[in-house]
């Protein structure tokens, strides 16, 4: 463990001041201890909040006067969409930190986030279609919101493909980071698409300058589900980071065995 710590600190010759605090967590052993302490809590939060959110969404929230019971799809569709954007933003931020400050865990955090973000983008698109068919009369339309979210999905897939395709870990990290940062312009486009263009998708009713227009009886289940999805993301992120670090150590073991062998 001490050898690892020394090896890592020697690869970070000149950490930028701003990221100096984050470098405490560059030590895999420290991250391992911290994540082991956090994981039971984040997992419990995720399960508890999602369970509560489901109860509120299915039994407490009222049916909509226009959309009837189909409005309940909102309680998985909107949190998924929020997570799709949140995960990409987080991935882009982690990529930037990895590129600029060479923080060792940053690249891995970005890598670990991608599958979660891709999953939520997919469920946002799917649940959106399931909601759109009865309400709009169509499974799909090439309006600005739906199209830009589909592009987001392809960006996630491209990002994951880069990591898979490039053998050298450092080069893969850099290429993927550049893709993540180039693609981040899509995030504000998605957010403002319903204002900038004439879309079939409805305009924002929660995250608006004038405050939410959605009724409290629907807003609370939505927020509970959104928080539960966030806790789920943190849980999966920590698990995937632990896995990346463990698999890195395994590869190092095996390289040593081969070299000696």
């Amino acid at each position: 463990m001490a050898t690892e710590a020394m090896a890592l600190s020697q690869t970070d010759k000149a950490p930028a001041r701003g990221a100096a605090g984050l470098h405490r967590f560059a030590n895999p052993a420290r991250f391992s201890r911290l994540s082991a302490r956090l994981l039971p809590w984040t997992a419990a939060l995720a399960v508890g909040l999602i369970a509560l959110g489901l109860y509120l969404a299915l039994f407490v929230a009222p049916a909509d006067y226009q959309q009837g019971q189909s409005v309940r799809i909102m309680f998985v569709h909107v949190p998924s969409a929020w997570m799709a954007l949140f995960c990409y933003s987080f991935m882009a931020l982690a990529s930037a930190v990895g590129l600029i400050w060479r923080h060792p865990l940053a690249d891995l955090a970005a890598k670990a986030t991608a599958p979660v973000g891709a999953l939520f983008t997919f469920t946002a698109l799917l649940t959106g279609s399931l909601w759109g068919k009865p309400m709009w009369g169509t499974w799909w339309v090439w309006d600005a919101r739906l199209t830009s979210v589909l592009i987001l999905f392809f960006l996630y897939l491209g990002y994951m493909a880069l990591w898979q395709a490039i053998d050298d870990g450092a080069k893969a990290a850099r290429a993927a980071a550049i893709l993540a940062l180039v693609g981040v312009v899509n995030v504000p486009i998605i957010k403002f698409s319903v204002e900038w263009w004439n879309t079939l998708h409805q305009p924002a009713s929660v995250l608006r300058l004038d405050g939410p227009t959605i009724d409290a009886s629907m807003l609370w289940p939505l927020l509970v589900m959104a928080l539960g999805f966030k806790a789920y993301f943190v849980t999966v992120l920590l698990l995937r980071l632990r896995t990346e670090l463990a698999e890195r150590r395994l590869r190092a073991f095996r390289r040593r065995a081969l070299a000696e062998g």
Binding site: T3, A7, Q69, R72, V116, A173, L239, R240, R248
Partner: protein
Amino acid sequence: MEGIGAFFAMGGYAAFVWPAFAVTLGLMAALGWSTWRRLKAAERALAALEAAGEAAVEDEAT
């Protein structure tokens, strides 16, 4: 109070509402499960190597 049948019918939208919830939660559970399994496999392999008497290893400098 609506009967359980009415709840599952979701006002006629059952074919849209239930798949939406099932796929979202199902995929989340699947990702969590697959992540967990991959972590445990890596940890088991590491424990086996360490038990076999390998010395502390230098991490790859990425």
